[in-house]
Symmetry: C2
Subunit: 294 residues, 2 copies
């Protein structure tokens, strides 16, 4: 079978994530025609001016005509409305994918809204980001050597898997395939829980009468530990709720771990504390050694 051909790509949400895909494709050469669809004319105009997209439109029917691939790179909360708006104009070959941080909820939504056409949908999550957002922050090499997870179901068409794999590989990313549940479990542990923990710490300190004094003595360890507490509140509300079950499992496991550390402290059990700190520091430094590109 020939690789599915990508002549026309439609991007909903031309911000950091969608814009960087467009720039990566253009940099790789043989770029498809790239159509940007967005809510605010302002940001689409900027995307056009920066050469990130070839065409800007808010008319879904025009955008979808002969589209080979639709990439939804908006906040996850906009997914249902967008899927509903494109459904009437999807042809039997148009592939649809997304770039959201949670996957089971997105699959559920695609199945509900697209029905039979959901075999043309494949969920995706590029593990890349930056401090900044918006199309002006988009860069061609955002995905180079980064992980991208695709979460096909038993119903997902081979064409969908192939086209979206190819898309991300062209952007320089390493593609992993797994179930949406596996994805959500993994990211509950290594991303969603750490965000929750950082938000919790900062809020706890900020609420105190002596918050100003406390913050004034916080230094570089605090800066790094809490960097993710500066993340977008609505986005993290949505992620937390979308991945609630897996996140609660992680939170429970973490509470158990904290209880056991508390007991070591109460008992003055230096040996156990040191052993735990040693395991963590060995694992953390080995990881950092391994993942220099992160």
């Amino acid at each position: 079978m020939k690789n599915p051909v990508l002549n026309k790509l439609v991007i909903f949400g031309v911000g950091l994530i969608g814009g960087s895909v467009a720039l990566a494709l253009k940099k790789a050469g043989n770029s498809p025609q790239i159509v940007g669809v967005g809510r605010t004319e302002e940001s689409l105009k900027t995307a056009l001016e920066l050469g990130v997209i070839d065409i800007a439109t808010s008319i879904i029917e025009d955008a979808l005509q002969n589209a080979d691939l639709v990439l939804i790179a908006t906040p996850v909360a906009q997914m249902p409305a967008i899927l509903k708006s494109i459904k009437p104009y999807l042809n039997s070959k148009t592939i649809i994918t997304d770039a959201g941080s949670t996957k089971a909820d997105v699959l559920y939504c695609a199945k509900e809204i697209l029905g039979e056409l959901s075999s043309q949908f494949i969920g995706g999550h590029p593990i890349a980001g930056a401090e900044k957002s918006g199309v002006t922050a988009a860069i061609a090499n955002l995905y180079e050597n980064k992980n991208i997870v695709l979460t096909p179901t038993a119903d997902t068409s081979k064409q969908a898997i192939e086209m979206v794999t190819q898309l991300w590989q062209t952007c320089g990313a390493k593609v992993s395939i797994m179930s949406a549940d596996t994805h959500d479990n993994i990211f509950a542990a290594v991303s969603h829980l750490p965000h929750l923990l950082a938000f919790a710490l900062v809020d706890n300190i900020a609420a105190r009468p002596n918050a100003e004094q406390l913050f004034s003595f916080a230094a570089s360890g605090f800066r790094d530990f809490t960097r993710i507490a500066g993340s977008h509140p609505e986005m993290w509300r949505d992620i937390s709720l979308a991945n609630k079950d897996a996140l609660l499992i992680e939170l429970n496991a973490y509470e158990t771990q904290l209880s056991s550390i508390k007991k070591m402290l109460q008992d003055g059990d230096g040996t156990s504390l040191q052993r735990l700190f040693e395991r963590a520091s060995v694992a953390r430094n080995a990881w950092a050694q391994d993942k220099k590109s992160v």
Copy 2:
């Protein structure tokens, strides 16, 4: 009253912390004579070769002769042995200070060992550090614009407060004076607890059968959140135990905070979650804006 004159400084532990003090004094000009005392000949030899210290010795009596100031910059666990070893050679004007991360335990130890001479001791904690350790990592500007906390007691001599304040100001640091208990409470919240939380997260993940898979999808948020989990295990065992009471209070407050977040998740209470995330992200970003130099 004239400022106390610093003609001879003795540093126990010429590593990153002690070595950077020496380099800062030399850079500032009019440097006192700097004598390094250490356990391993190797590192003292390096300190001498790098011009960090003027004299290296392991003979305490020689080192202490006519010393105006003794800076103990070794791991806290070595404090008692060092205080015992210098006590016989202290004259009535020699000031003693340290650079440890906890202060109430150090004060207690100084009082126990030095007895009446403990009025010549003042605890100190420079809020600065780096990924690397050892004298080869020492730099002259490590303390520039950094906080240094001094924790005098009612018995501490004015000379001690003045000389050590002057020492750190010459290094470019901002000196704050507070009680040892206040210090330990502040750092339990903004440093010791975050370290514990990061160690706990990494150890919890590392212990799982699918640890390798989990680590392989951890990205930049995880990297920053867990950086402090790569810290020195023995040092953090000592800090945790030395500041056990304040740390347990922080741990309890944090557990309460986590329980309340868990409830919001269980209830699907997006409004409360978003409000909490918003408070945290506003506070965190304001802090980062304020503390650009950290």
